[in-house]
Amino acid sequence: MEKIKIQTVCGFGCGSSLFLRMKIEGILKANGVDATVFCGDVGTCLTNECDAIFISEELSERIKDRASVPVFAVKNFMNTAEVTEKVLSFIQDKQQ
């Protein structure tokens, strides 16, 4: 199977998306999952090839109806339980 690619998205692709990327990378590592995480911006994220998009709740409204991959909205970036649950549920679905 090809390596799973997760895109974290914010307004400009260099601020909060980086925070979310760090959080998700930590969770993947803690759970022994090998996947790539990269940052994108809300304007162009839908044209980037990936298996899932993780984005703040506020911004998710802008893309969720147009995305061809699952979009996971995160309410609180430091809530490890929230982010872990969303990341692992996606990984499990993907691996089935």
Partner: protein, 146 residues
């Protein structure tokens, strides 16, 4: 280890009656440091107006920034705590007590430092600890030891 954020770029107990004032307060430190022009502060405020208060990433914490632009003279970071918490309009994570402000020349530059800062502020309890820090030195110690 190098300081994650320079001492001159940190201020505690900033008086900001509105979220715009909070963004300006953090942005002004970057302006004084010669890292941005005033245009960048306007761009950060505009970003919240246009994109909504998504920059309030977690309870009590806002990440103020705009896109890399000509208004950014060099990569830099500033951090302020607010005298009184202020609402940005984010139902989940308001009110904001700590504002981190970043400016980047491009998307890749600066990333290593930002990653370290990101991990630091996402530690459990970090925002509350930073918000109640009594001095800039105490705040720096928190960041550095995280």
């Amino acid at each position: 280890m190098d300081d994650l954020i320079r001492k001159e770029n940190i201020q505690i107990g900033v008086d900001a009656p509105s979220w715009q004032d909070a963004v300006r307060g953090a942005g002004n430190l970057l302006l004084q440091a010669g890292s941005i022009t005033t245009q960048y502060i306007d761009e950060m405020i505009q970003a919240v107006v246009e994109l909504g208060p998504y920059m309030v990433l977690m309870p009590g914490f806002a990440l103020a920034h705009a896109a890399p632009s000509a208004a950014v003279l060099r990569d830099d970071i500033s951090l302020i705590t607010l005298k009184t918490p202020v609402a940005f309009g984010n139902a989940e994570n308001d009110p904001v007590k700590v504002v981190l402000c970043i400016c980047c020349k491009d998307r890749e530059s600066h990333r290593t430092t930002l990653q370290r800062v990101a991990l630091s502020v996402m530690e459990d309890g970090m925002i509350d600890n930073m918000a109640t820090a009594k001095s800039v030195d105490a705040l720096m110690a928190l960041l550095q030891n995280a």
